[in-house]
Structures are given as C-alpha cells and as structure tokens.
C-alpha cells in the first residue's frame, strides 16, 4: 500500500481539526448591527448623541451599560425565542412549523382557565370559566395542562407529517387555523383573567432569587439583573439544554441527518417517522411553555395571543443561520438570531420610528435572511 501514501492533492491527512463555526459570523453581524444603531444615534441630529446600549453620563456609578434597555431587549425576545428553539429543530429536519402562534393562543386559553383564583379583592372572580372546583388549583395543574396542549398539538403535527406524507407546510397550516378556532371557542371569545399569585409569579417573580433561597435578595445584581426577568432566564436555560441535546445526543444527530438526506437517514436505519413525531412534539411543548410564560406575565389570556409568533420564531432561526432546506443551523445561531431580531426592533423604538415601519422592516428582514441563506448555499454548492 506504499504506492498510495501520497493521497489526494498533497495535503496532510488523517486530521481531526475543529472547524470554524458559522455562529461566529452571526455574532459579528450582531455586533455590526449594534454599531450601526450606535452610529445613527451619534449622527442623526434629532438623537442628540444618545447611545442605545450605553449610559455614559450615568448618575449611578454602577455600570456604563443601559441595563434598562438591554433587559427589555432580552425580555422581548425570550418568549418567542423559546418557540424559536423548537422551530429550529423542526427546520433542521427539513420541515416547517406554522402552528406555533396558534398553539400559544389555544394553550394560553386552556391553561389559564385552570389557573384562576376564586376571590378577587374579596369578590368572586368576575372572569370565572369553570365552577369552584377549578379555582385555586395547585400550580402544577395549569402548568401540565399548558405543556400538554402544546405536546398534543405538536405530536399531531408530527404524526400527520410522518405517516400521511403531507408536506409540513400544509399540516401545520391546518393546525394553525384550527387551533386559533379552539382558542376563540374555549371561552366564546372572552378573555380569561385573574390567575393565582403563584401562576403570575412564573413570569413576574424572581426565579434566581427563589433558587438561591433568598440569600442574595438584597444584592444589587439580584434586583438589577433578575427581577421580572424570569422568561429570559427560562429562555437561557432551555437554550443551553437544547444546545447540548442537538450537539451531543443521538436525538440531535438524527435530526440533522434527516434534514441532510432523508433517504440516507432511512437507509442507515434511523426511525425517520418516530424522530419527526418527537421533534414536532418537542416544538409544540415549547410553544405551550411560551403560552404559560405569556399569560403569567400579562396575568390574562386572550384568544388572539401569539398571533404571527410563528413567523417571528422562523425569522429568528433563519437570521441565526438555520437553513430552510434542512440539515444546517444550531441553537446558538438561533439565540444570536433572536438577539439580532430584538436589537433591530428595539433600535427602531430608540430611533423613535413609528411602529408601522417596524413591521415593514420586520418583513424585509425575514426575506433578506432567506435570500442570504440561499446565497450561502449556492456558494457552498459552487465550492463542492
């Protein structure tokens, strides 16, 4: 075999080197976008040299960061970001989930109706949905019901896609329309309000404080960083969890394999149908959790909740480098995509632009991200 020891192209062989991650490019993009907004703050005359993320002439001598705005940006993207974590997995299989916004709507209504408190200021709950038996239930009940709604909706999506072979686009579109109907039907269109205090605390409490047994309650960090930031904490924890799941488990590997080459995955013995059901079920469950956080935060549930969240979540994933053709992308990318999304939306408010422009630009960003993805793919196809 000595005659083949030169090999292809005169390179060194049998190497196992780390590869430069695509996430670095997205991180650079995030920094660039922040710099653009900072520059506009300096250049636009009516901004009078304000900064978006910094606070140089602060009277408190604690930090030069504009913590208030940073917290708002992160909080704003957290709930939809949690949905995006699931949507990322779905898109990596080569699918799409258009139902997440409606899952939020339906799960919000159903979970909230089991989270109500009997007495509001001494009077019976004016928005009561059920009788007294459903009042002041332990917090675990609405929690499991909300997650369960998402799980069932996601599993049905997965079963339809895996076993009837209808395109994911159609299956989840049907789910999107039906579940919005469920959300409206549940209380005949009435909002559901007045949850128990524990339920309101899911989003509005301070989980970090609770988890550290109140030992650091008085510290600056605890109040400045974590008060009212529970959705952001959950987003971060779930992102870390799913980062490991996607990168270091069989589940993650098979998800990538299916989106990469479904036939190859099947020939390699992967249970493609079962895996798809699992992926969609997880995505649905995450949307259910988002519904709980949203209703807890707003202490009310409305049938219109979660409207077009699915598109925002898809946009976050695509901006974060998740390829709509499947097989490529990562949780870290999606988290960065969510932050880019948040910075842009928040940047518009900071530049005092009308909400109309925000929506127009949001649409443009989604299209731009997809164009960028296709361009990236053509480039890598040309290289191969």
């Amino acid at each position: 075999m000595a005659d083949t020891s030169h090999g292809t192209g005169g390179l060194t062989f049998h190497k196992s080197k780390r590869v430069w991650p695509n996430e670095m490019n997205i991180f650079v993009a995030l920094i660039l976008i922040i710099l653009i907004f900072e520059a506009l703050g300096q250049l636009l005359p009516y901004m009078k040299g304000q900064s978006m993320l910094f606070d140089f002439n602060t009277r408190r001598d604690d930090t030069i960061l504009n913590m208030a705005r940073i917290k708002i940006i992160i909080l704003q993207v957290s709930i939809i970001g949690i949905i995006a974590l699931g949507v990322t997995q779905v898109i990596i299989t080569g699918g799409i989930d258009l139902s997440s916004g409606s899952v939020v709507g339906a799960a919000a209504m159903i979970a909230m109706s089991f989270a109500q408190t009997e007495l509001v200021n001494g009077n019976p709950n004016p928005k009561a949905i059920f009788g007294n038996w459903a009042m002041d239930l332990p917090i675990i009940v609405p929690l499991l019901i909300g997650l369960g709604c998402g799980l069932i909706a996601g599993a049905v999506n997965g079963l339809l896609i895996a076993y009837t072979r209808i395109p994911p686009f159609i299956a989840t579109l049907g789910m999107m329309v039906s579940l919005r109907g469920v959300a409206k039907w549940w209380s005949r269109g009435n909002p559901i309000s007045f949850p128990t205090e524990e339920y309101a605390d899911i989003s509005n409490g301070n989980i970090v404080d609770s988890l550290t047994f109140g030992l650091f309650s008085d510290s600056w960090t605890m109040t400045q960083l974590f008060d009212g930031q529970n959705p952001a904490i959950y987003f971060l924890l779930l992102a870390v969890l799913f980062h490991f799941v996607m990168k270091y488990t069989v589940y993650g590997k098979h998800t990538y394999a299916i989106g990469s080459n479904e036939d190859a995955a099947r020939m390699s013995g992967i249970n493609v149908s079962g895996q798809k059901v699992l992926v969609y079920a997880i995505a649905g469950t995450l949307a259910g959790f988002a519904a709980i956080l949203l209703t807890s935060r707003n202490v009310t549930a409305q049938a219109g909740m979660g409207f077009v969240y699915e598109l925002d979540a898809i946009a976050m994933a695509v901006i974060g480098g998740v390829s709509l053709t499947g097989g490529r992308g990562s949780i870290i990318g999606t988290v960065l995509g969510a932050l880019i999304f948040g910075v842009i939306i928040s940047g518009f408010t900071y530049l005092k632009l009308d909400a109309f422009y925000q929506e127009m630009v949001k649409g443009a960003i989604i299209v731009a991200a997809v164009v960028l993805d296709q361009w990236r793919q053509q480039r890598s196809a040309a290289k191969a």
Binding site: M1, D3, T4, S5, H6, G7, T8, G9, L11, T12, F13, H14, K15, S16, K17, R18, V19, V245, Y248, T249, V250, Y251, K253, H254, Y256, A257, G259, S260, N261, D263, A264, A265, R266, M267, S268, G269, I270, Q275, L278, G327, R328, S380, K383, A384
Partner: protein, 257 residues
C-alpha cells in the same frame, strides 16, 4: 452446503413491461470475491436492489448463509449483515465523516436516556481514524462536512463505512466510477483488505483491469440475464468483452440471451 454465503434462484424483476432482471441463478462462496459486468442497463443494479431489499422482487428466491430471506427494506438486509455501497451514495451531506460512518449505529454513553443518550464523539473519531488508517483512505479533515468534499473523497467515505464494520457480505455498485487514479487505488486497496480478512464481496464494475486484478470470478449480465460465469484463471479481457457484447454466450446459458 454451508459455505455458500449467498444464493439466488430464478431471481426476477419486471418494471411493468420492462424485464430488467430475468431468472438469475447465482452463488457466492465464503471468502469469494465476484465481479458482475455488463453493459449499461444490463440489470446489474437491479440485481443488487433485489438482494438488498431496496425493491421487492417479482419472482424467485434468495438465501443468505443457507437461510431463505425476504428483506422488507435495506435496513433488514444490513442487520442481516449485508453492507452495500449503492450507485447513488447514501450519505448525509451536512454531517462529517465519523457522523456518517456511524449514522444509525452511534457509539453512545448514558444509554438510559433513550433517544437523548449521549454520543461518544471521541470513540467514534478514534474508530474512524483507525478505519481510515486500515483502509488507507485519505481525508484532509474528518470534521469537515461531507458537502465540502470532492466526489472521490465522498465515495471513499461511503466505502470506508462498509469496511469499518465487519459484515457477512459486502456489495459495491460501481465504487470507482467517478474516481481519479489515486482514489481508485485506495478503493482497490480496501477491497484487497476485505479479501485478506476473508470477507466475501460482490463488485459491480465496468473496469476490466480492476476486475482482472481483484476478483476470483466474473459474472456477465446481458439484457437482464446472466450469460456467463467465468473463473478468472480461465478467461481474459477479450473473452469477457465477447460475452458482454453478445458475440458469445456461455454453454450452460444457451438459449438464454
């Protein structure tokens, strides 16, 4: 006889009116390397697809190690010990080399976690390096995704996959069709390694030199039928070509073509 690895009898496949494979009787013995030759469209790949369960046969029987088998799909065949490099490669483009080698049979830890059990990347990388070392396949960086590799390198990965896992029978459908000189030599070395290890092989190839170099026996397909069964020592290139083109038909196959 128990040294017969694979046996087919009257194996037939019709695609509607197209008789792609007609009454193939075939035997492969332990440790034997057999080549299948024939013109384009002669039915070689069709023959492989019937054995490996990719398609369901129209008629006929297949035995593996003396046991009659009916594979419902390619996975069944692989579990029974048949490793196949199909003419259309079955690789996941976005995954790297170890991922592809171990796809569907990952080395894992924490198995109590079910589908969320942990991948043992280190063990898989080491096994991959060892497998590539053994088969002398050269890949610049095994952590590159398959998408960024040349056609030849991809082919080598697909072949290294079959060679890394000891199998009862290896089938390669035109493994060197798209390869340069160096890569072809690598693949041929892998085949020699299999021969040394006593692992039986069916090789489909249009390359006469390669076939004459590597195998013990040559089967010629023509218009869906087996028209010759030639021991390598008793034939030469010209003879084989005569069978492929139809100028000649084996004595025992008279009336077939």
């Amino acid at each position: 006889m128990n040294d017969i690895v694979l046996k087919t009898q009257d194996l037939t496949k019709h695609y509607g009116g197209v008789h792609a494979l007609e009454g193939a009787d075939f035997e492969l013995r332990a440790g034997e390397h057999v080549a299948i030759m024939g013109d384009n469209g002669a039915g070689k790949s069709t023959f492989v697809r019937q054995i490996t369960g990719v398609e369901q046969r129209t008629r006929g029987k297949v035995w593996l190690y003396g046991k009659e088998v009916h594979f419902a799909g390619p996975l069944d065949a692989r579990e029974a010990g048949i490793e196949t490099v199909f003419q259309t490669l079955a690789l996941a483009d976005d995954l790297d080399v170890p991922d592809n080698l171990f796809l569907g049979r990952e080395i894992t830890k924490w198995n109590w976690l079910g589908p969320f059990r942990r991948l043992d990347y280190k063990a898989m990388r080491e096994a991959t390096m060892a497998g590539l070392e053994k088969t002398a396949v050269k890949i610049p960086n095994i952590r590159n995704s398959i998408r960024n590799m040349s056609g030849g390198q991809r082919q080598c990965v697909a072949i290294a996959r079959t060679a890394t896992f000891h199998s009862k029978l290896t089938i390669m459908d035109e493994p060197t069709a798209a390869l340069g000189v160096q890569e072809t030599a690598q693949v041929e070395n892998i085949i020699r390694t299999l021969k040394e290890d006593g692992e039986p092989l069916i090789l489909i190839s249009h390359n006469m030199r390669q076939v004459m170099d590597l195998v013990d026996r040559i089967i010629v397909f023509r218009r869906g039928r087996i028209v010759a069964n030639l021991k390598k020592e008793e034939t030469d290139g010209q003879d084989v070509v005569a069978y492929i083109t139809g100028a000649k038909t084996g004595a025992e196959f008279e009336g077939a073509a």
